[in-house]
């Protein structure tokens, strides 16, 4: 995969640097959807390869982010279709706990981050997708609608339901305001 990706990058003109810069955002999104680093990495790779192969489909470079995230969303849905229903919340929590042991996560805020991630992982997929695009990647609602191919009204309702569920989940453990203060 690495070799093919490199060779694709070397053949393309203009796109590679932009795609490489988008990698972190793609990975972050994919992780928030699946909460599994290895899978998030695979989805990111897959999306980048598809983007390079279909670069000509991007007519407006200003829409590259939405276009890339849309490709990632498609890769993610393909994965869900292929794997369902083998993943469940216990699997996700195992992945989260496993990744919590890594140095970069224990270095800071792992406890709070883990609690938030666990709460996010319990959200329905659709809410998780919308929440990640709005909160993490700061996409506009219109962009989210485009990326996920859903109406803006659905974006808003999923967002609100997701936020309400998160608020309720986190309130059970610790007041969010004091939790945020504890982040170091």
């Amino acid at each position: 995969m690495v070799m093919s990706l490199r060779s694709l990058f070397s053949r393309s003109v203009g796109m590679p640097a932009h795609l490489a810069q988008s990698r972190a955002g793609l990975f972050r999104l994919a992780f928030m959807w699946c909460h599994d680093r290895a899978l998030a990495d695979d989805l990111t790779q897959e999306a980048l390869v598809k983007a390079l192969r279909h670069a000509e489909q991007l007519r407006d470079p200003a829409r590259m982010r939405a276009w890339l995230y849309g490709i990632l969303a498609n890769c993610w849905r393909d994965h869900l279709r292929a794997r369902r229903p083998t993943e469940d919340i216990d699997t996700v929590e195992e992945h989260l706990l496993a990744s919590a042991d890594t140095p970069e996560r224990t270095a800071s805020q792992s406890q709070l981050a883990l609690r938030v991630q666990t709460a996010v992982a319990r959200l329905p997929v659709g809410q998780r997708e919308v929440l990640s695009l709005v909160d993490l990647e700061e996409c506009s609602y219109a962009e989210v609608a485009l990326i996920l191919d859903i109406p803006i009204g659905t974006v808003m309702s999923r967002l609100c339901r997701g936020r309400a569920a998160l608020r309720s989940a986190l309130a059970d453990t610790q007041a969010p305001r004091s939790a945020l203060r504890s982040v170091k």
Binding site: V2, R28, E104, L159, C160, R163
Partner: protein
């Protein structure tokens, strides 16, 4: 009669999705309605918690574009350190409470601004109570927001205030509360973040700290700035 604003409307407000004409009545209502202020603060807090929870995941574990062999963690760590040290240098470059030299230091992450299609995001850092600094940060924010709107781009701008700079965001102290309210009405993508450590120091000293509507209290300004830079925001020290 003010109807209770829906969650969707409040979400749209904190996400910068409301047109100024729609945001203004809400902001006005927030000025007199403590419960509404709290609802908005909780929403923003939830958004910040999600960002914090995934902030450290900006770097994939496997360096896909590396030339093979050992992972390039040392490069990633070095770049993260460079960003953090840059923020720290800006942070400690002058004494708290002293008017800063009227210079702006911009530490732009190389890969953020040039990214095609990605909206630029800017964090403006104010740590002085000097009147000209407070004016400078607002002028800078307004200029950026105006320019972005004229260009048809959505550019979030965040003012992070600590030390003496916190005065700008304190309800009973700020000399610019009216202008800030107008700016937030016109540009919902303008965010205000107060340093929790500065606020706590004031509280410990017996000073009541009331922040302007829509202001979020972060753990510390430094945490917020480092987080933003990790997320690819452009840092501008006023």
């Amino acid at each position: 009669m003010n109807l209770e604003p829906s969650e969707e409307r409040l979400s749209a407000l904190i996400d910068g999705e409301l047109a100024p004409a729609d945001a203004e009545p809400l902001l006005e209502q927030m000025r007199i309605d403590a419960a509404l202020r709290e609802r908005v603060a909780q929403l923003r807090l939830g958004k910040e918690l999600v960002r914090h929870a995934y902030a450290e995941l900006a770097r994939p574990r496997r360096p896909a574009l590396a030339a093979g062999g050992a992972p390039r963690w040392h490069v990633l760590v070095a770049s993260m350190l460079a960003v953090a040290v840059g923020a720290l240098l800006g942070w400690v470059a002058r004494e708290p409470g002293q008017p800063a030299a009227f210079t702006t230091v911009e530490l732009a992450r190389q890969d953020a601004v040039a990214q095609a299609g990605a909206a630029e995001r800017i964090v403006l850092h104010l740590s002085s109570s000097a009147p000209q600094q407070a004016l400078a940060v607002l002028d800078r924010a307004e200029g950026l927001l105006e320019a972005a709107r004229a260009a048809g781009r959505h550019v979030p701008v965040e003012i992070v205030a600590n030390s003496g700079g916190l005065d700008l965001l304190r309800t009973d102290v700020s000399a610019h509360a009216g202008r800030i309210a107008k700016l937030r009405g016109a540009y919902p993508q303008l965010m205000l973040v107060a340093c929790g450590q500065t606020a706590q120091r004031l509280r410990d000293a017996g000073t009541a700290v009331s922040l302007l509507p829509g202001t979020v209290e972060a753990t510390s300004a430094l945490d917020e700035i480092v987080l933003r830079m990790q997320q690819g925001w452009t840092y501008v020290r006023i």
